[in-house]
C-alpha cells in the first residue's frame, strides 16, 4: 500500500475560510449524473474494477460466524469463476478490496480468510458505531481490541456533537488519538454526513479528519437517514483535492450506504474520475461500502457478457417524425 497520510497540525484558519455554495454543488452533481456511462465491454471492465473497490460489508445485529464465513468466501471469489474465465480475467486475482464487520466478528473473519489462503484485509467499524455516543475511553479501547484481533483497517465514526458545535480542536484531538490507537491499521473516518447539517460543515469536518491523519474519509455509517449522495461526495472530494493541493498527501474516499446497483457504482467512478482524476481510481484511494451491490454487479456482468457475445452491436435508430422535410425534399426535386 502507498504511503499513509501523516496528518498535519490543525489549521483552524483554513477550516474557518471554507465556503460551499449548495446550489452550485447540486448543479454540478446533476451535471455529473447526466454524463454518459460506459457501455458494452468497457462497462464490464469498469464493473470488475468496481468489484475490486468494494468493502464487502455486513453490519447487522444478527451477524453470526456462519454468515461472516460466507461473506469472506464471497469476498475472495466475488464473481462466478466461469464468467471471469470467459472474460479471461480468472487469473487476475479479482477480489473485493476488504470485508467490513463489527469488532466482535473480526476474529472469525480473520480465521476464515486465513483458512482460504487469502490476504484480504479485514476492516472493522469501531468507536461506538454507528452513533459514537460512548465515552472516549471505551471508544479507544474498542479500536485497540479490533486491531489486536487482526483488523488491518478501522472505520471510526466522528463525534457529531463536536462537529455540530464547531469544536474542531476537540474533534481533531479525538481523531488523532484514534489514529494512534490504530497503529499500523489504516483509519477510515466516517463523517455521518446525514447528521452534519450543511455542506460547509461537511467540508470542514472532512478537512479536520484529514488533518488528524485519516487515510480515508467515508460518507456515512449506512445507518442514518441520508447516506452517500452525489452532492455530498462532491463536497468531500473537493476537500480531498484541497488537502492534496496544500500538503501533497492523497487521502482516500469511501462512499457508503445506499449504493445498490451496478449503474450507481459506474456513476461513482465517473464522479471520482471527473473530480479527482485517474489517480484515485484504485482500491487504496477509493472504496465503495456496500453489501447488496456485489450481487447486482455480478448479475450485470453475466448479462453483459451474454449480450456481448450473442448479439452483434446494432446502432439504435432514433425514430423521429421527419415528414416535413421529406415533403419539401420531394416537392423540390419534382
Amino acid at each position: 500500500m502507498a504511503a499513509r497520510n501523516p496528518g498535519m497540525k490543525l489549521d483552524l484558519e483554513w477550516v474557518s475560510k471554507v465556503r460551499v455554495n449548495t446550489q452550485a454543488v447540486l448543479k454540478r452533481a446533476q451535471h455529473i449524473q447526466g454524463q454518459k456511462i460506459p457501455k458494452k465491454q468497457w462497462q464490464a471492465a469498469w464493473l470488475l474494477k468496481a468489484v475490486t473497490c468494494i468493502d464487502l460489508t455486513t453490519l447487522a445485529g444478527d451477524d453470526t460466524p456462519s454468515n461472516i464465513h460466507r461473506l469472506c468466501l464471497k469476498a475472495v471469489q466475488p464473481i462466478r469463476y466461469d464468467l471471469l474465465k470467459k472474460m479471461d480475467m480468472h487469473n487476475k486475482g479479482v477480489t473485493t478490496a476488504a470485508v467490513c464487520v463489527y469488532p466482535s466478528r473480526v476474529g472469525e473473519a480473520v480465521i476464515t480468510l486465513k483458512a482460504a489462503n487469502s490476504s484480504l484485509p479485514v476492516a472493522s467499524v469501531a468507536t461506538g458505531f454507528p452513533a459514537g455516543q460512548t465515552p472516549l475511553e471505551t471508544r479507544l479501547q474498542e479500536v485497540r481490541m479490533a486491531v489486536a484481533h487482526g483488523a488491518s483497517e478501522i472505520d471510526i465514526v466522528i463525534n457529531r456533537k463536536l462537529a455540530l458545535a464547531g469544536q474542531w480542536e476537540a474533534m481533531y484531538d479525538e481523531i488523532h488519538q484514534f489514529r494512534e490507537a490504530c497503529g499500523d491499521a489504516h483509519m477510515k473516518t466516517i463523517l455521518a454526513i446525514g447528521e452534519l447539517g450543511t455542506f460547509t460543515n461537511i467540508y470542514k469536518a472532512s478537512l479536520v479528519a484529514m488533518m488528524a491523519g485519516s487515510d480515508f474519509i467515508k460518507t456515512s455509517t449506512g445507518k442514518e437517514v441520508v447516506n452517500a449522495t452525489y452532492p455530498v461526495a462532491i463536497v468531500m472530494v473537493r476537500a480531498i483535492r484541497d488537502y492534496y493541493l496544500f500538503t501533497g498527501q492523497k487521502v482516500g474516499f469511501k462512499p457508503a450506504g445506499g449504493i445498490r446497483t451496478a449503474q450507481e457504482s459506474l456513476l461513482w467512478f465517473t464522479l471520482i474520475k471527473e473530480e479527482l482524476g485517474n489517480d484515485w481510481l484504485c482500491p487504496h484511494l477509493f472504496r465503495l461500502g456496500a453489501s447488496s451491490l456485489l450481487a447486482d454487479i455480478e448479475r450485470q456482468v453475466g448479462f453483459q457478457h451474454i449480450q456481448y457475445i450473442s448479439i452483434p452491436y446494432f446502432p439504435a435508430y432514433k425514430y423521429v417524425s421527419f415528414n416535413f422535410f421529406f415533403f419539401f425534399y420531394r416537392s423540390t426535386i419534382m
Binding site: R19, A24, V320, F324, F325, Y329
Partner: protein, 783 residues
C-alpha cells in the same frame, strides 16, 4: 415518417449538395407554396457536410410575404385573447410530439435549443396572450413585426422576440440566420399545424443582411427587431435609417462579460463553472475572469488542476486559428502567462482551452477578444475595484458573480451596469426575466412583461414615424449649415429684444461660441428675443456635469426625488405668470390658454413626483427554486430634442419622466418656440435639483441633434423633428448604440398631429416612464 427514412433519402446525398428546403410563405389559402428561386448553398454543420440548403428570397417573395403577413395580422389580431393563447398552448402539445425532431434539427444546425426551453417560452407567452387585454389595457399591437437575427444567434433568442410579438397579436416575418433557418421553418410549419392563421408567421431565408433591409423597406412592416451580433446589428441600423420604421436591437452575441470571484466565494464551484462555460465550443459571450487578489493563487492552482486532461476545442475555421495565434502571441509579448492542459497543435482549426493570467482591462486580448477558447484572468483588490473592472467593458450584457456574502452579492448586482446578474451561477435565462442590454448591449428590453411593450403601442397615439424611403443625404454635412448672422438692431434700447441664457451644469450662461440666434415672434414680424446658439461644446459641458450628479440622483431614495419634483412644481406655480407670458408672446396663444397650459404643467410635475416610488421591479416567477429580482434602472443621461406642440407642457412631461426615474437630461428647446423652455430656467435655478441634472441648451435643431448624436455618453435620444433628422439619428447612433424614440413632426402643421400632451391617462404616463428605464434581472439560486 421517421429519421430512418430521412437517412434513406438523404444518405446518398450527404456529401453532395441538394435542396432540402425552400423558402416557405404561408398563403392565405393555408397552402404552403414553395418558391424555388435561385439557390444559395450554405454549409450548416461541420465543413464538407451540408445539412440542408435554403433559398434566397428575392423582391417578389418579400412583397408577397409582406402582404400575406398583413392578411395574417388581420386574421390574428381580430381573434380574442383566449383564442390566441389557445394556439400557443396547442403548439406546446404539438412540440410534445415533435420535440425530439426540433431539438435534433437545432443540434444539426448548431443552434441547439432543447424542446423543454421552447415549451417554457410558449407556456409563458401563452399566459400573456391570454391576459393582454386584462393586464395591459389601452395598448394595441403594432402590426407586422420583422424579427431579424444574425447567423450565430440561437433559436432561444429568436423565439424570445417571435413569441411575445405573436402573443401580443402582431404577425411576424422571421428573417433567420444560417443556423436558425431550418428550425425556424420547421417551427413555422408546426405553428400552422397548431392553428395559427395563415400569414401570421412567415419565414424568409436569405444569404446575408441585405435581405433584412429589403424586408424593412416594405411599407407593410411596422417594426423591425434584431437579435444577434453587433456588427450585423449596426449594418441593419444603417441600412434601415430613414425608412421610417422603428428598430430595436439586442446584440446578445459577442459581448464581453465579467465572471467575478470574490474571496468569500465557493472557489471550487466557481472554478468548475467558469471552466464549463468559458471553453464551450459555441460561446455566445466572451467571459473575462476577475479574481480578488487574496485568492488568486488558489484559483490558479485549481484552474490548473481542473483543466488538466481537457482536450482541444474546435474553432470555426482556420481563419479563427490565425486570430487566436496572433492574440496569444501578443499576450505573451505583454507578459501574460498561459495555463493550457495540452500542447498547442501546430495547425488546424482547434486550440486548447487557455487561461491568460496577468491580463489587464487595457490588454488587447481583453478589449478585442479572439474567437477561441481563451479566458483572460484579471485581479482586483477591493469589492469596489471588482465592480469597476467588471464595468470597464463597453458591453453591458451580463455578469456572473461568486460570493457567499449576501450583502456583497446584492450590492455588486446593483452596481454592475449589465442586463443580467447571475449570483453563484451563470448563463441562466428564462422568458420571465426582463433584460435590457446596458451600455452598448442593446436598445430594448426582452423578456418579462416589460419586454412585451416592444411589440405594443398606445391605442391613443398614432405610429410615430411615417413610412418613407430614405433620402440620399450626406451624413457628414448634416447640421453644419451656418445660422444666419444676427445684426442687432440697437436703435431703441428700451424695446430691444431680451437675450435669454441657456442652462448648463446648474448655471445660466451664454453658449461657448458666444453666438446667439434670433427668436421670431409668432407672425414672423420681428425679433422677440435672442437665445444662445449652442453647439458641441455646450453639450459636452452639460453631459460632463450630468454624469457627475446622475449616479447620486439615481441612488437617492424615491421619496427624496419626489420631494424635489414637488418643489419644482411649486417653483413653477410661483413663476406661473412669467411662464404663461412667455408662452403667450412666443406662440400667440391667449393669456388664458397659456395659463391653462402652465396649470397642466404643474399638475404633470406633481404626477411625476408621485410616480417616483411607483416605478418598481419585483420578484419574478422563475421555474427553478431561487430568488429572481428585477430592477428598473435609469438609462443615464438622456438627450431630448423637444417637440413644437405645447412647448411648456411637453417639456415638463418629458423632463418629469426622465428625472423621476433617475436620469439626467440634456434638453434642446424646439427651434420654433424656445422661449417657454428658456423661461423655465429660472424655475430650475430656484429648485433644489442637483446642479447639472437638467440642462437646457438652445440652438439650431439639426446642429444640436448632431451634437447629441455624437456624444458617446448619452444613452438615449428622444427626438421630435424632421424626417432627415430621424434618418440621421438612426444612421449615426450605432456606436455606442443609443436608444432612440423618434417622432417625425411636419414643420408647418405641428399643432394637430402627434401626441396629445394634455391627456393624463395612466398608460400615457406609463409609456413615458417605460421609455426612460432599462431593466436588470438578478438571479440567486437558493433551495
Amino acid at each position: 415518417m421517421t429519421l430512418e427514412l430521412y437517412h434513406n433519402i438523404l444518405g446518398p446525398y450527404l456529401n453532395a449538395r441538394y435542396i432540402l428546403y425552400v423558402n416557405v410563405i404561408a398563403q392565405p389559402s393555408d397552402y404552403l407554396k414553395t418558391l424555388t428561386t435561385f439557390m444559395f448553398f450554405h454549409s450548416f454543420w461541420s465543413p464538407g457536410v451540408d445539412v440542408c440548403s435554403t433559398v434566397c428570397a428575392v423582391e417578389d417573395d418579400i412583397s408577397q410575404c409582406a402582404s400575406s403577413a398583413l392578411n395574417g395580422f388581420k386574421a390574428w389580431s381580430v381573434l380574442s385573447c383566449y383564442q390566441r393563447a389557445k394556439v400557443l398552448l396547442r403548439l406546446v402539445s404539438v412540440l410534445g410530439q415533435h420535440g425530439q425532431c426540433v431539438s435534433e434539427l437545432c443540434e444539426l444546425c448548431g443552434a441547439s435549443c432543447s424542446s423543454s426551453t421552447l415549451i417554457r417560452q410558449l407556456q409563458y407567452y401563452s399566459s400573456w396572450a391570454q391576459l393582454r387585454d386584462t393586464l395591459i389595457t389601452n395598448w394595441t399591437p403594432l402590426g407586422v413585426v420583422a424579427v431579424v437575427v444574425s447567423d450565430d444567434c440561437s433559436l432561444y433568442s429568436l423565439m424570445l422576440k417571435v413569441l411575445p410579438a405573436l402573443a401580443m397579436g402582431n404577425s411576424v416575418i422571421i428573417v433567420p440566420g444560417l443556423n436558425t433557418a431550418p428550425p425556424a421553418l420547421l417551427l413555422a410549419q408546426l405553428f400552422i399545424g397548431a392553428g395559427l392563421p395563415a400569414g401570421a408567421l412567415n419565414v424568409l431565408t436569405g444569404s446575408d443582411m441585405s435581405l433584412c433591409a429589403k424586408v424593412a423597406q416594405n411599407p407593410n412592416i411596422s417594426h423591425v427587431t434584431y437579435s444577434g451580433n453587433k456588427q450585423d446589428g449596426v449594418m441593419l441600423c444603417k441600412a434601415t435609417a430613414g425608412m421610417g420604421v422603428p428598430l430595436s436591437v439586442s446584440p446578445c452575441i459577442g459581448a464581453t462579460c465579467p465572471f467575478i470571484i470574490f474571496e468569500s466565494a465557493d472557489i471550487d464551484s466557481a472554478v468548475d463553472e467558469v471552466i464549463e462555460t468559458a471553453f464551450k465550443k459555441k460561446r455566445e459571450v466572451h467571459w473575462v475572469l476577475c479574481v480578488q487578489e487574496s485568492i488568486v493563487d488558489s484559483v490558479v492552482t485549481r484552474l490548473k488542476l481542473r483543466m488538466a486532461g481537457m482536450k482541444c476545442v474546435a474553432l470555426r475555421s482556420d481563419g479563427d486559428r490565425v486570430l487566436v495565434d496572433a492574440a496569444i502571441q501578443e499576450a505573451q509579448q505583454q507578459g501574460a502567462t498561459l495555463i493550457q492542459p495540452c500542447s498547442v497543435p501546430p495547425s488546424g482549426a482547434q486550440y486548447p482551452p487557455t487561461v491568460l493570467c496577468g491580463a489587464a482591462p487595457s490588454s488587447p486580448f481583453v478589449v478585442c477578444p479572439a474567437p477561441g477558447p481563451l479566458l483572460p484572468l484579471m485581479t482586483f483588490r477591493t469589492h469596489t475595484e471588482g465592480v469597476t473592472i467588471g464595468n470597464h467593458t463597453p458591453h453591458g450584457q451580463a455578469a456572473s458573480i461568486w460570493t457567499e456574502d449576501l450583502t456583497l452579492a446584492l450590492e455588486t448586482a446593483r452596481s454592475l451596469s449589465v442586463g443580467s446578474v447571475w449570483v453563484n451561477s451563470h448563463s441562466v435565462s428564462d422568458p420571465c426575466m426582463p433584460v435590457s442590454g446596458h451600455k452598448d448591449s442593446g436598445t430594448c428590453t426582452d423578456g418579462g412583461q416589460e419586454g412585451l411593450y416592444q411589440f405594443l403601442r398606445l391605442r391613443s397615439s398614432p405610429p410615430p414615424l411615417p413610412r418613407s424611403s430614405p433620402v440620399s443625404m450626406d451624413y457628414s454635412n448634416f447640421g453644419t449649415a451656418a445660422c444666419p448672422a444676427i445684426i442687432p438692431d440697437d436703435s431703441d434700447p428700451a424695446s430691444a429684444p431680451k437675450p435669454y441664457p441657456q442652462f448648463v451644469g446648474g448655471k445660466a450662461c451664454k453658449s461657448v461660441s458666444g453666438c446667439s440666434l434670433a427668436v421670431q415672434s409668432p407672425g414672423g414680424s420681428g425679433v422677440l428675443a435672442y437665445c444662445p446658439d449652442g453647439g458641441k461644446k455646450d453639450v459636452r459641458n452639460a453631459v460632463e456635469a450630468a454624469i457627475k450628479v446622475q449616479p447620486g440622483w439615481m441612488k437617492k431614495s424615491p421619496s427624496a426625488r419626489a420631494q424635489s419634483l414637488y418643489s419644482l412644481a411649486k417653483g413653477l406655480e410661483a413663476k406661473r405668470r412669467d411662464i404663461a407670458a412667455s408662452i403667450n408672446v412666443q406662440t400667440g396663444l391667449s393669456m388664458d390658454e397659456a395659463e391653462k397650459e402652465v396649470e397642466l404643467g404643474i399638475a404633470r410635475l406633481s404626477d411625476w413626483a408621485a410616480y417616483c416610488d411607483k416605478v418598481q421591479g419585483g420578484a419574478l416567477p422563475m421555474p427553478q427554486s431561487g430568488s429572481a429580482l428585477s430592477f428598473p434602472e435609469a438609462l443615464g443621461v438622456l438627450g431630448v430634442v423637444l417637440p413644437d406642440k405645447n412647448p411648456l407642457l411637453s417639456m415638463v412631461t418629458l423632463l418629469g419622466a426622465a428625472i423621476a426615474t433617475g436620469n439626467a437630461v440634456v434638453m434642446v428647446p424646439c427651434q420654433k418656440y424656445p422661449l417657454p423652455a428658456l423661461a423655465f430656467i429660472q424655475v430650475l435655478q430656484s429648485s433644489d435639483l442637483p446642479a447639472g441634472l437638467v440642462n437646457i441648451i438652445s440652438g439650431g435643431r439639426d446642429q444640436m441633434t448632431v451634437a447629441l448624436a455624437n456624444h458617446s455618453v448619452i444613452k438615449a435620444i428622444w427626438y421630435w423633428g424632421s424626417a432627415e433628422g430621424c434618418q440621421y439619428l438612426q444612421h449615426t447612433c450605432t456606436s455606442p448604440l443609443k436608444t432612440l424614440r423618434l417622432f417625425c413632426q411636419k414643420d408647418e402643421e405641428g399643432k394637430d398631429e402627434g401626441k396629445d400632451w394634455t391627456q393624463s391617462h395612466p398608460s400615457f404616463m406609463e409609456e413615458m416612464w417605460r421609455n426612460a428605464v432599462q431593466w436588470k434581472s438578478v438571479w440567486i439560486p437558493t433551495a
